[in-house]
Each structure stands twice: as structure tokens, then as C-alpha cells.
Amino acid sequence: MSESNNIPRMVNQAVIRTSDTSLDQMSDDVLITLFQGGEEDVFRILVERYAQRVRNLIFSIFNESSLVDDIAQEVFIRVYEALPKFRFESSFYTWLYRITVNKSRDELRKRKARRFFSLHAMLDSSNAELQSKIRVLPDDDSTKELVNKGLQELPEKFRIPIVLKDIDGLSYEEMAEILQCEVGTVKSRLSRARAMLRKILAPMLDAS
């Protein structure tokens, strides 16, 4: 991603943009340079390149498909506004993920007062039938669904690291950059997050 970090900002765009058909193959940094030079059409390529990853990240954080596109659009609008000032100090996708995480945090704060579906409550419920449905060897899809719901039970501080690491497969360093904290903090939060999730999911995973 960062192979073209050394491209001078004042590079001659005519040299970069050899033809329209090669835009898809251009690196993020070259596209951003073109965008900053006034070629706003290239924004579409950046969106198409990253929209699905951003949508997946938001979906993992919220597990609500109805929210995904609204938040993803806000993320890309923010990117569109801030891209002219992008200084190439980090890779584009790390920066994009940081914006996504910040937007998701904002949304989580807004929704804090609401009551969510609580897996704890469900497991503690006196409804024996419901409990047996969960505990009797869930099939693969329903297990994934329960894991996703379990993820929603984690506080945002622990949920986002586990999403970035175990779903998106980012490195500790990338996570530290996105979450704007030290690598040590990332490791510690991730460890605690996994332990908390394990505790929540223990009844189901042990049963299966």
C-alpha cells in the first residue's frame, strides 16, 4: 500500500495519468494525488476499492445490516472532505479504517441509552425452551450468528480490537495506528476482549 509513498506531491499528473483505463490499477497514493490535483472522478475508484471492507467492518461492529450503508456513506463523505488535506503520513486504508472506527464509536455513543438484545439476559432467562434451542448443538450458521451477537455484548473498547484483529486480520501496529494508542495497550485490550467473549460464549461453544 505504501510503495508509492515517495511520489512527490507536485508530480506531473499528465505523466501519472497515462490513460483512463489504467486508473483501476493505480495505487491509492497516486489516486489521492490526482484527487488533490482536482481530478475528483478518481474518488469513485477509491470508494469501489474499499466500500466492501468498510461495510464489513461496520457490520462486524454493529451486526445490524440496516445501519451499515448509512454509516459507510458518512465515512466516505468524511473521507471526501478530508482527502484534500491527506498528508500521506499513514497508508490510506489505515486512515480510512480510523475514520470508520471513529464514526462507529460516534454511533455507538448515540445508541448507548438504548437497550440492546442481551445474550446474558437470554441465557439467564427462565425460558427453558429458549435455552435448550441455544445449547443443543447449534448448526454452523446459527453458531456464527450467536458469536456475532456475543461480540455485540462486549463494550466498544474491547469489541473494536477483536474485530480488527480476528475478523480483519490487521497487525498490532496497524491497530495501534487506527485506535490511536500504544501497541501494548492494543495487546492488553485484545487479550481481555478474547477472555470476555469466551466467557459470554462458553455455554454455547462448550455445548457444541
Partner: protein, 468 residues
């Protein structure tokens, strides 16, 4: 330690120590297996289904945002306070200077006023210009988008109908209002019917608002008995429909398509085959109206295509009309249309791209394909006529083998019809660029014809196409 081991982030020495510890503690080893399983389940998460219309919806929102954020100043917004302060200072200094030189200025402007009056009185452009459509609401605009018909005046039961297609060229018609044959739609009802999300509702609203502004700036009535219809108007309904389709998600888009079929719309749109990476063109912008614009001009004895420059800002200032004023204007428009329809029984000029048809209750103008300038860009979804409900114009319905077609070259020639000189009351290239608009004289002008009797028909109850 277990978390770092799981991520293979331990150095070799710590890794061996931890593995020895696991061998001695089966409970911890079992816990590690559970963590691994948990991690596998998370990694197997396939995410959300791709949304192939994501860019379309984003581009609509970006467009709305740009419109809101548009900076009307030729400098950055951060200098606005400074500019405001400077403006106040300049105004203050100017005011002082004017006050000191007031006697000189009064005499100067008095002289100039007399000169302007003389020019105005001797001008060939003494007319006024008023927009025919004022205060359209979004429901009417939606009706226009879906059915291609816009009521000129509910009392007179006359509607403007337009269409533009590859097959039939551009058509403009003033005829009896047939909107009552279509469901009486509201934007809310429409959005409810197609299950639009709040975001989509906003997009539809935005498309209709933009179109409303364009429609209101597309049809003008000249005081000196002329009617000007902007060349872009005939394709606006199809463009709106296409843009609405592009702003919707696929399930809502399918419902919209079904809605068109059930509600009897003469149009439908084509959804291209869903190929990987395929996406429709971005929403087509409603054509702007800057500078010289192409209009179809109608006067009692002429019809022509001309490039006009209309000072929209000045005209729009006169939009705030009272009900009586609007009624007077509509009566004048009707009278003009009827008079034109009577004169229209004349032969067509050689090589004219216009064909005109008229009857006792309609006036249709057909413009040959390519005679008008095409708007830029393509529509996101191609909007096509729906067989057998395709939008039919009166002349098509009345054109039976036994009925002669007007302007077919078999009647007396006229040297006035299809003349190229635009009528007084509107500007053409090279004409003076400013004039006074005197609303009072327009409103108090004698009526050409009495309006039709007031018809207060109650609107038919809208029956939802989806009602069982």
C-alpha cells in the same frame, strides 16, 4: 500470554516456555482450544452482502452535500467575517460620500432616468415575462415524473404534456387534463408504497425539489402574447424517473417498477443485467439554464425554435403572485393557446423541424429528433414507453385515416407561420439585456377570454396499486 501465543506474537523462548506450561496444565490447554475455535468462528464471518448500488447512493449524498456547502463567495469562507467588515466600512464611506454629493447625484440620475424611459418607450421589447408554473408542489412534480402530465390550471382542466424519445422525437402538448385518470399521488404515499427508507425518501425529495425549480423556470408567458417552453422540459420527466430509480436500493427499485405498471404509468425503466462490477451511470443532473437557452416559442401566429436569454432572477422575483394574479395569468395562457390553435391550421414551412397539430381541445407540437440540443450525460436507467400504455398525444389518438392532418402541406401557405423572428416580450441574441417587469400592468391587462367555468370536481380517492 495466551492471546499473544494465539497471534504467534511470542518470541521463540517464550513460545517454548508457554508450550511446556500447556503440556503441564490441561485446563489451560483446553481454554486455548476454545479461544482458537472462537477465533475461527470470527474469521469465518463472511461479512455483509455487497451493495452494488453503494456508489450511486453515495454520489447522490455527495451531490446534496456539495449543493449545501456551495460557497457563493469568490474566496474561502474563513474570510467571510473580514469581508463583511470591509463591506460595512466601504458602505459607510460610500454613504458619507453620497450624502455629501447628494445634489449632484440627484440631478445626474434624473437625467439618466429620462434617457432610460425614452429607450424603453422606443424599444421593441416592451413586454413582460412571467413563469407559467408558480408554487408547484413536490406531489405535482412526482405526478409529472411518473405520468408526463402537469396541470396548467386545475379550474380550466388543461394540462401540459411532454415527452422526448428516440422513436418519436420531442413532443409538447397543451390538452385537456387527463391527470385524473392517474392515481392522485403524494410523495409520502409513493415512498410508503415502494418501502423507501428514510435516506431514500430524502433522495427522492431532493430530486423532486431540483426538478421543481427547473420546471418553474421552463415555461414562460410573455405579456405580448407569447409562450416559451424550454427545450429541456420534454425530457425532464424521464430524467426524474431514471434518477429516482438510481437513488433506490434494488428491492425498492423493483417495487417502483411494479408500481409504475400497476398505476398505469406510460413509462417503465430498464434494469440492466446485474453483472459483477456493473453499475448504472451516475444520476443525470438536471440541465442548468445559464446564458442563452433553447426554447420553443409560440405566439398566436407563429411557432419557432429560438435561443433566448431570459433573466431568470428578475423573472423569478415576480413569482410571488396572488391567487387572482395566477388565475389571470392562466386565463391569458389559455387564450393564447386557443388563439394559436385556431391560427395553426396553416401549412408547414419548408424544412421546418416542427409539426403542429391542433383540435378544439388540444395543441400539439412535435419537434424532429436532433432539432433540439441534447442534454449532456446519459440517464442511469433507460426509461422507455410501456406498450400498450405508451404516452399518446391527442393528435396521435385523433389521427385516423379519414382525418386530415394539419400542416401537411395541402392547404394555403402562410408567410408568417414558422417565422424565425422571436416575438416581442422575450429576448433574443443581440437584443437589449435588461428591461422592467411591471407586474401591475400584466395583472390588470384586459382578459382575452373568459376562463372556463369553475369545475370543482372532487378528486378521486387514490386507490393504492398494492391494495387488495
Amino acid at each position: 500470554m495466551m492471546s499473544l501465543y494465539l497471534d504467534d506474537a511470542l518470541d521463540e523462548e517464550d513460545k517454548i516456555r508457554f508450550e511446556n506450561y500447556l503440556a503441564e496444565n490441561p485446563d489451560v490447554a483446553a481454554e486455548l482450544r476454545a479461544w482458537k475455535k472462537q477465533q475461527q468462528l470470527l474469521r469465518s464471518n463472511q461479512g455483509i452482502r455487497p451493495n452494488e448500488w453503494f456508489w450511486q447512493k453515495l454520489s447522490v449524498r455527495l451531490g446534496q452535500r456539495e449543493k449545501k456547502a456551495e460557497n457563493i463567495f469568490p474566496f474561502s469562507k474563513k474570510y467571510v467575517p473580514l469581508a463583511a467588515a470591509l463591506t460595512v466600512l466601504v458602505a459607510l464611506l460610500g454613504g458619507i460620500a453620497v450624502f455629501q454629493q447628494r445634489a449632484l447625484l440627484t440631478s445626474f440620475f434624473s437625467e439618466k432616468q429620462q434617457q432610460v424611459q425614452q429607450i424603453y418607450e422606443g424599444s421593441v421589447l416592451p413586454g413582460k415575462l412571467l413563469p407559467l408554473f408558480t408554487n408547484l408542489n413536490k406531489d405535482q412534480v412526482l405526478q409529472f415524473a411518473l405520468f408526463g402530465t402537469l396541470p396548467v390550471d386545475a379550474q380550466a382542466k388543461t394540462a401540459l404534456r411532454v415527452d422526448e424519445s428516440k422513436e418519436k422525437g420531442t413532443r409538447i402538448e397543451f390538452a385537456s387534463d387527463e391527470t385524473e385518470h392517474y392515481p392522485q399521488l403524494t410523495v409520502k404515499k409513493f415512498c410508503d408504497e415502494i418501502g423507501a427508507t428514510s435516506d431514500e425518501h430524502r433522495s427522492v425529495d431532493s430530486i423532486l425539489s431540483e426538478a421543481r425549480d427547473k420546471i418553474q423556470a421552463s415555461v414562460f408567458l410573455g405579456e405580448n402574447r407569447s409562450l416559451a417552453v424550454h427545450a429541456d422540459l420534454p425530457m425532464m420527466n424521464r430524467t426524474m424517473m431514471s434518477n429516482i430509480a438510481a437513488s433506490l436500493d434494488q428491492p425498492q427499485r423493483m417495487k417502483f417498477k411494479k408500481f409504475l405498471a400497476v398505476s398505469g404509468s406510460p413509462y417503465t425503466f430498464v434494469i440492466p443485467p446485474s453483472l459483477p462490477g456493473h453499475a448504472p451511470a451516475p444520476a443525470r443532473r438536471m440541465p442548468p439554464h445559464p446564458g442563452m437557452e433553447q426554447f420553443v416559442l409560440i405566439t398566436p401566429d407563429s411557432c419557432t425554435i429560438a435561443h433566448l436569454k431570459i433573466d431568470l432572477q428578475q423573472v423569478m422575483r415576480s413569482q410571488d403572485l396572488s391567487v387572482q394574479e395566477v388565475r389571470t395569468m392562466n386565463e391569458r395562457a389559455h387564450a393564447l393557446i386557443r388563439e394559436f390553435a385556431q391560427h395553426a391550421r396553416r401549412p408547414i414551412a419548408p424544412n421546418s423541424p416542427l409539426s403542429v397539430f391542433s383540435g378544439s381541445n388540444y395543441l400539439s407540437i412535435k419537434v424532429e429528433e436532433n432539432a433540439l440540443e441534447a442534454p449532456p450525460g446519459e440517464m442511469p436507467f433507460e426509461v422507455v414507453a410501456r406498450a400498450p400504455r405508451a404516452l399518446q398525444f391527442q393528435y396521435e389518438m385523433h389521427q385516423t385515416p379519414g382525418m386530415p392532418k394539419f400542416f401537411n402541406g395541402d392547404s394555403e401557405a402562410s408567410d408568417r407561420f414558422f417565422q424565425n423572428t422571436p416575438p416581442p416580450g422575450v429576448w433574443n441574441e443581440g437584443a437589449p439585456q435588461s428591461r422592467n417587469i411591471d407586474l401591475d400592468s400584466v395583472i390588470s391587462a384586459p382578459r382575452d377570454r373568459k376562463s372556463r367555468p369553475h369545475s370543482d370536481q372532487s378528486k378521486k380517492r387514490y386507490k393504492s396499486p398494492f391494495e387488495l
